[in-house]
Symmetry: C2
Subunit: 569 residues, 2 copies
C-alpha cells in the first residue's frame, strides 16, 4: 500500500472506532501536522466537527459540549505549543470529571529532540492531569496493528467515560506528506463493543448479553489468574446454568473445586496443542475472566477462534494482549456471573460439555501415568502436587514452575491453593513472597522454584532468622534458564549457554548452610518422595537435580502421547 | 513570631535574594493565593513589576523581556488553571532558551488532593519543560530555613541563566491569612554570590576572587570526594601558591600524593573533633571542591566557620547541605585552580600552614601507634591499608568502612587509589561495583566491606564464575549495622538490636563455598595480617571477626588520645 493509503486506512479506522465508541463531536484547531486527523474527522458522515482557532478556547468549548452531553468530545490540534494551550481545559476536565479525548499531532521519532521546528516533547505533556496517555505508532495498514489501534480508540473513549470521567491524551506521530485520500473507502474492521458498569450491568446490557448466551450452543468460559479467588463459585454457577465448560487456570481458584464440578476442565494445555482437536472444538462464544491464562496453547486457541469473545474485567486495564476480544465488559466478575446466571435459560443439551469432559478425562489419565512413569522435572512437579496435604498453600515461581503446575495439576489430588506473582511474571522476589504468605497463613506453605529464581532472591532467606514462619522449599535445579530450551533460540547453539542458559552452577547446600536450613539433595524421584514424606521442618530446602535437555524432550513426548490418546489413536 | 511576621520575613528574604541574583523584573497576574509574592515584589524598591491579567499573555510578555534583556524575569500567578496557562510560554522558553522564573502559589498540604477549590496538582506541573522544579516549604522564620530558601532563590536564578537558559518553576504553599506586613523591615540575611562560567571564569571574576585570596591569611582548601581525580595536582598547585593547607578527603585523589606535598593534610577527622583545636584553627576563607567530605568532624567545622566559603562545583548541583557557602562558583575544578594559581601572589608567610602540618604530624603518629597497639575494626582497617601494594585499588563500602579509611589512611603507606559509591552512599551493590572496577583495571583490587553490605550484594559474586577478574575481599563482620552504635539511638536499648543492629548472624564461609571462593576466617589481627601477606588469590574472601561495642569504645579512645596529643597534654 502507498503511504497515502496507509495513512488513510489507519486514521479512518481509528476514527470509525471512536464513533462506534460513542464519540459524536470533535473540535478542531487548524494546523499542518494534524491534517490527517482533521480531514478524516471532517469526512466522517456521523461525527459533527467544529473549528476553533485558539486551542485554549477550543478546549474549553469542547469541555462545555462534554459537560452538557456527558459524552466524550474529541479535540484535535497540531504539534508544539498548540498542544500546551489545551492544558488549562485539560486540568479543569480532570478535576471537574469531564470526558475529553485529546488528539495531538506530533513529529515522527526522527524529528524529535533534535531541534526540529515546532517539535516539543509531547510525551506525557499533561502529566498526571491526563487520566491516560498513549503515544501512538506510526501509520501502518497491517491488520493486527489496525485492530490494536482500534482497541486504543475504544479504550480512550472508555477511560474518558469511566468514573471518575476525565481527559485522556493520544499523541499521533505523522510523516509527510500529510494529506489522506478522501475518496478511499476502507473495509470496515471488526469493531469492539464496550460495556461500562459502575456497580452492576444495566438491564439493557443484561438482556442483550443473555440473549446471546441463549443463542450460543458451543460457549466456553475461561477463568484466568485472579487475585480474588472468591469469584470461583459464581463462575461455576454460570457454567452450570449455561452448560459451558469452564477452562480453569491454575491461578483462578477453580481447580480447587474440580472434584465436585465436572464442568471444570484442567487438562486443556495438554490437548489444545493438537490442530485436529482444536478444529473439533471451535466455540461460538468465549467469556474470559481474569488475566491471561498461563497456558500458551490456550492463548493461541483463543486467538484463533473466530467467534465473539467477551472480556469481563473490572477496572480499565483490558487484559487482552491478543486483541481478540470483541466485547469489553467492565464489571466485577461475581456481579457479572450472578446477573447472567439469574437471567439465562438453563440448558438441557450437554453434548458440547460432554465432549470436553471426555477429552479432559483421557488427558488426565495420560498425565497421571506420566507422573508415575517418568523421572523428569514435570514428573517431579507431579510428585510434589500428589504429596501436598489437604489445605496446603503452594507458591510457584514463574517461568517453568507455573507452567508445569498448569500441566501436572490434575483431578485426583487433594485440595490446595496455588499462588504466583503473575502481575509482571518476574523471577525476582519469589522466596520473599512465599515467606510473606507463610507469615500470614500459618498453614503448611510450599514453594516450588527454579534455580535461577531461587538464586535471585537468596537474600530473602535472611528473614527466616528473624521470624518463625514455616516454609518447605523445592528448588528445581536444572542449572540455568530451563524455559529457554523450549524456545526457538535454543537451536542457536553458539551463544545459547552464555546468553540464555546462564548456568549458575550453584550447589544450594551451601546456601542452606548459610541460613541454617534443613536440606535434602534429591537426585532421584524416590529421594524426592522420601524427602517430601519425611514430615515438615520449620524451613526445609529440597534441591531436586534435573536436566534441561531431558526435560524438554520428555515434555514434548507427553504432548504427543496426549494428542494420540485424545484422538483415539 | 506571628504568622504575618513569618510570612513577611520568609517571602521578603526570598525576593531580596532573587534581586541579589540578578532579577530586575517581575510580571504579576492578579490572584488571591499569590498575595504575599505580589505585595512583596511590588514593595521591593529595585524590582520593577508589571501587571498582566491573562496568565498566558503575562508569561509571553515576560518571555519578551527576558529575550531582550537576557536576564531572568519572574512571573507570578495564583493556584489552579492560572498556572496551567503559563504552559505555552514555558514550553517556548524551554526550546528558545529564555530564562524565566515561574513562581506559582499553591494550597498548603492539608488542602491538596482532597477536592479543595482551585487546588490542582502543581507538583512538576510543567513536566520536563521546566529545567528545574522545587516545591517550597511553608513560610517559617528559622534562620537555617531562610538561608536554605535564599539558596533556592539564588539557585533558581542560576539554573535559569546557565546554558542552555530556560524556565524554572518554584511552587509556594501559603496558608491564610495571606497579607504580609508591608511596614516590617527584616534584617538582611547574608546573601550568596553566584559565578556562572561556561568554560572559564571571566576576567572580572578572576580579579575579584584573586584579590580576596591575596587578602586571606588563614585560607583553607577542602578537597572532597571526586570521580575525576585528575584535578588533584591542580588543587595542590593552588595550595602551594596560596600557602593554604589542603584537607584531602580519602576519595579526593589527593592523599595518594601526600608523601611529596606537605600541605596535604589527612588527619583532620581525628583532631577537628576537639573544640579547643577548632577554635585555634579558625580560617578566614574556605575554598571547597568536590562533594561533601566523608568526615563529619570536618563538616561541622566548616559549618561553624564564619568566614567566606567558596564552593567550586561544575554543573548546577551546589552540593552544600550545610548551606554554608557564600559564593557558588560554577566552573570546572581544574580550570578554577589553574586560573587562580596564575593570578594569585605567591605567599611567603607559612605560619598558618606550619601549624596545620605540626598538628597533623602529631595526629598521624597517634594513629600509627593505635594501629600497632589495638585489635579492633579500626586497627584492622589500618592493617589492611599498610598491607596494600603500591598502585592497588581499594573499593570501600559505605557506612563504617569509608569512615575508617578516612581515619586510618595516614602518611607512610604505599600509594594506592581509593574508590567508593558516594553518589547516594548506599550499602547496596558494592560487591558488584568492585567486580566491575576489577574487570576494567586488571591491577590488584581490594574490597573493604561490612557484613550487612556484603550480605546485600552476595548475589553479585555470581559473575566470578563467568569472568576472570581478580578481587581480594575483606569483610568486617561485626554482625550487623555497626555504624548505628555511634548514634544517639544506641542508648535506647529496648528495640535497638531489632531495628538498628539487625544482626544477620551469617558465617560467610558458606557464602564463599557457594561461589567457590578462597576463604580465610580471621579472628585476630595476626591471622588477618597473615592472610593478607599470603599472596593474592583470584578471588579471596577474608572474614575479619570484630565486635561492635568494643569498636565504638576504642574509636572514642582514639579521638581522646589524639586530642590530648595535639593539645600537647
Amino acid at each position: 500500500m502507498s503511504h497515502k493509503e496507509n495513512l488513510t486506512l489507519y486514521v479512518s479506522s481509528f476514527i470509525e472506532q471512536l464513533y462506534q465508541s460513542g464519540v459524536k463531536r470533535a473540535v478542531i484547531s487548524p494546523g499542518s501536522r494534524s491534517t490527517p486527523l482533521a480531514y478524516l474527522l471532517e469526512n466522517h458522515p456521523q461525527i459533527h466537527t467544529y473549528v476553533n482557532v485558539d486551542e485554549r478556547s477550543a478546549a474549553f468549548y469542547a469541555l462545555g459540549m462534554a459537560k452538557a452531553s456527558q459524552e466524550p468530545v474529541v479535540i484535535v490540534c497540531t504539534s508544539g505549543t498548540a498542544a500546551a494551550n489545551y492544558y488549562p481545559a485539560v486540568v479543569e476536565a480532570r478535576y471537574a470529571r469531564v470526558p475529553l479525548i485529546v488528539l495531538t499531532a506530533d513529529r515522527p521519532h526522527e524529528l524529535r529532540d533534535n531541534g526540529a521546528p515546532q517539535a516539543i516533547d509531547q510525551i506525557n505533556l499533561y502529566g498526571k492531569h491526563a487520566k491516560w496517555f498513549y503515544d501512538m505508532p506510526l501509520p501502518e495498514s497491517d491488520t493486527n496493528l489496525l485492530q490494536y489501534t482500534g482497541r486504543i480508540a475504544a479504550k480512550a473513549a472508555a477511560k474518558a467515560s469511566a468514573a471518575p470521567k476525565g481527559p485522556v491524551h493520544l499523541n499521533f506521530p505523522f510523516r509527510e506528506p500529510l494529506s489522506p485520500d478522501l475518496s478511499f473507502k476502507p473495509d470496515q474492521q471488526p469493531l469492539s463493543a464496550v460495556y461500562l458498569a459502575e456497580k452492576q450491568l444495566n438491564s439493557q446490557y443484561v438482556s442483550d448479553l443473555s440473549a446471546q448466551l441463549n443463542r450460543s450452543e458451543k460457549g466456553l468460559i475461561i477463568a484466568g489468574p485472579s487475585e480474588d479467588q472468591q469469584s470461583a463459585e459464581a463462575l461455576i454457577h454460570l457454567a452450570e446454568a449455561t452448560g459451558f465448560p469452564v477452562l480453569a487456570d491454575p491461578l483462578s481458584g477453580l481447580r480447587t473445586l474440580m472434584t465436585d464440578h465436572p464442568s471444570v476442565i484442567e487438562c486443556y494445555d495438554a490437548f489444545l496443542r493438537d490442530n485436529e482437536i482444536k478444529k473439533r472444538l471451535q466455540p461460538d462464544l468465549i467469556i474470559r475472566f481474569g488475566g491471561m491464562p498461563v497456558s500458551k496453547a490456550l492463548t493461541q486457541y483463543v486467538k484463533g477462534s473466530e467467534c465473539d469473545q467477551w472480556l469481563v474485567d473490572e477496572g480499565a486495564d483490558w487484559r487482552d494482549p491478543t486483541s481478540s476480544a470483541t466485547h469489553y465488559i467492565e464489571v466485577n466478575d461475581i456481579v457479572f456471573a450472578e446477573q447472567l446466571t439469574k437471567t439465562v435459560d438453563v440448558t438441557s443439551d450437554h453434548s458440547w460439555l460432554d465432549e470436553w469432559i471426555k477429552l479432559n478425562e483421557t488427558a488426565a489419565r495420560e498425565i497421571q501415568a506420566y507422573i508415575e512413569r517418568e523421572s523428569d522435572e514435570g514428573a517431579a512437579v507431579g510428585t510434589l502436587l500428589q504429596a501436598l496435604p489437604e489445605g496446603a498453600h503452594l507458591l510457584v515461581g514463574n517461568s517453568m514452575p507455573v507452567r508445569d503446575v498448569d500441566t501436572f495439576w490434575v483431578r485426583g489430588m487433594k485440595s490446595f491453593h496455588v499462588w504466583a506473582n503473575r502481575g509482571a511474571n518476574g523471577i525476582d522476589g519469589v522466596v520473599s513472597t512465599a515467606l510473606g504468605i507463610a507469615e500470614v497463613k500459618k498453614e503448611p506453605v510450599y514453594l516450588l522454584i527454579g534455580d535461577l529464581s531461587m538464586f535471585h532472591d537468596l537474600n530473602g532467606l535472611l528473614v527466616t532468622k528473624q521470624y518463625a514462619s514455616e516454609l518447605q522449599i523445592v528448588v528445581m535445579n536444572n542449572n540455568g534458564g530451563g524455559i529457554f530450551s523450549f524456545l526457538p533460540q535454543a537451536t542457536e547453539l553458539e551463544h545459547f549457554e552464555t546468553l540464555f542458559g546462564t548456568p549458575p552452577s550453584l550447589d544450594f547446600k551451601h546456601a542452606a548452610a548459610l541460613y541454617n536450613l534443613d536440606y535434602d539433595r534429591c537426585e532421584t524421584k524416590a529421594e524426592f518422595s522420601e524427602s517430601l514424606s519425611s514430615g515438615l521442618s520449620r524451613i526445609k530446602m529440597m534441591e531436586v537435580i534435573t536436566d534441561r535437555e531431558e526435560n524438554t524432550a520428555s515434555h514434548r513426548r507427553l504432548w504427543t502421547t496426549v494428542a494420540k490418546a485424545v484422538r483415539g489413536e
